[in-house]
């Protein structure tokens, strides 16, 4: 069947199998940041934006995304490096495998709530597993980023 998805601002029209998952479709189109970590929708590694909402791309049919907009970290590089630098300053990006999904979801959080409490941060990111860092370093990085933004740090949004 034919589908048309706007991926990171570029419209892609092509034939796909009806049961093709969005995670496989985006990876086929070079979005390698989107990782697969499980088969049961539990880990959050595959988080992408579907019409600007964070979703698990492993649990969306590419066909469902037909006519919609999908964003991955590849299309958010400036925001990712700006925020990611704060994670890097904690050493909290250990193996890095959970990072793209976590950073996507963190960007979604910042867009929804510019000044979240620690509890709000944890709850929003609860669906993003990490096995390396023990989560605290990610929280420190997020806190530092939020302070930086409150003091007027700039970011370019697409």
């Amino acid at each position: 069947m034919q589908i048309s998805i706007q991926l990171n601002g570029r419209k892609i029209t092509e034939d796909v199998r009806p049961d093709l998952l969005l995670i496989d479709w985006v990876r086929e189109h070079g979005c390698y940041s989107v990782k697969r970590g499980c088969e049961t929708s539990n880990c959050g590694l595959c988080t992408v934006f579907l019409d600007e909402k964070p979703v698990l791309s492993c649990s969306v049919l590419a066909a469902r995304a037909d006519g919609h907009r999908v964003d991955t970290l590849e299309g958010l590089q400036e925001e990712a490096s700006e925020f990611g630098a704060f994670i890097a300053d904690q050493g909290a990006e250990q193996c890095g495998f959970c990072n793209p999904g976590m950073i996507m979801n963190a960007i979604a959080l910042f867009r929804e709530n510019v000044d979240p409490t620690d509890d709000e941060i944890r709850e929003y990111l609860a669906g993003n597993l990490c096995r390396c860092s023990g989560y605290e370093g990610q929280l420190r990085g997020i806190r530092a980023f939020i302070e930086y933004k409150k003091k007027g740090g700039a970011v370019c949004r697409q």
């Binding site: 009806p18 929708s41 979703v55 649990s59 469902r64 669906g127 993003n128």
Partner: protein
């Protein structure tokens, strides 16, 4: 691995219903459960283009389209005001925001899953489901029915004033519940709903003699304990990977007692852990 031969974005409920009568065809909601099956689906019927992803507030009721996500329910101010936050309470611990942006109320209720927080919660509200073929029936009646090829189009929650409490116990914060419990006290009476037993949620009526005392907040701790035990005794529990039947029975008493204490104050506060 999910196998689908054909995918159709339904253009009308009629079309969706007709397609759904054929063996091997399935309605797809949030596919979170479906994607784990190795089922071979002939035609996947998607209701995504039928405007069923809205929560409409009417004079006497809320009309919730079947494609409304759990996240939408979580954030909906008015629904949560009506339910004293139990709708938010029941979904906020489910896996994560990304998951809840996909899981639909239709999918959650149609499955009548044992582990369903959503089913437990909505059974403690004045809830009806609108079926394409079967019309509007109370959720409790729907919950007792077997799965069939009808379509759950909408969920209707009447704006019946009342007090509501939701509690659940989980082994980890975002895991399936080990037990769920919800309580309702309104003009018609009071009931308890217990789910994830591991069987699906069931309702137990609270005897009318308790209604006034609960309304006044005048039950003693001993009375609350006794009442919780009486209710729990009517709820069969079982064992699975997450917990044993005996622990669930024990938890039922604890959660119901705590829920009743909150209910008689003014409802709304969940106090499981």
């Amino acid at each position: 691995m999910l196998k689908i031969k054909e995918y159709v974005r339904a253009e009308s409920l009629k079309q969706a219903y007709e397609l759904n009568q054929k063996r091997g065809n399935r309605i797809v909601g949030g596919i979170l459960w479906m994607r784990m099956s190795s089922a071979q689906i002939q035609t996947a019927i998607d209701l995504a283009s039928l405007g069923l992803d809205q929560i409409e507030e009417k004079e006497e009721e809320f009309s919730i389209g079947c494609m409304v996500t759990l996240r939408q329910l979580e954030l909906h101010e008015e629904l949560n005001r009506l339910s004293q936050g139990i709708i938010r309470d029941s979904v906020k611990d489910i896996v994560g925001v990304q998951f809840r942006n996909l899981a639909t109320i239709g999918g959650s209720l149609f499955g009548r899953f044992g582990f369903s927080d959503v089913l437990t919660c909505f059974l403690a509200l004045d809830t009806y489901v609108e079926l394409y073929q079967g019309g509007i029936i109370p959720l409790a009646e729907f919950a007792d029915r077997e799965r069939d090829n009808d379509i759950l189009v909408r969920v209707i929650v009447k704006k019946t004033p009342g007090r509501h409490v939701y509690l659940a116990h989980r082994n980890t914060k975002t895991d399936f519940p080990v037990l769920t419990a919800a309580l309702l006290l309104d003009a018609d009476g009071a009931r308890a709903v217990v789910g994830a037993r591991p069987q699906k949620a069931m309702c137990v009526k609270i005897e009318d003699m308790w209604k006034e005392k609960l309304e006044n907040g005048s039950c003693t701790p001993e009375e609350l304990k006794k009442l919780a035990e009486t209710l729990a005794a009517q709820i069969p529990t079982g064992s699975n990977m997450r917990a044993g039947a005996e622990y669930r029975k024990h938890l039922a008493k604890v959660l119901l007692r705590r829920g009743l204490a909150d209910l008689q104050k003014d409802g709304g506060k969940q106090n499981a852990d």
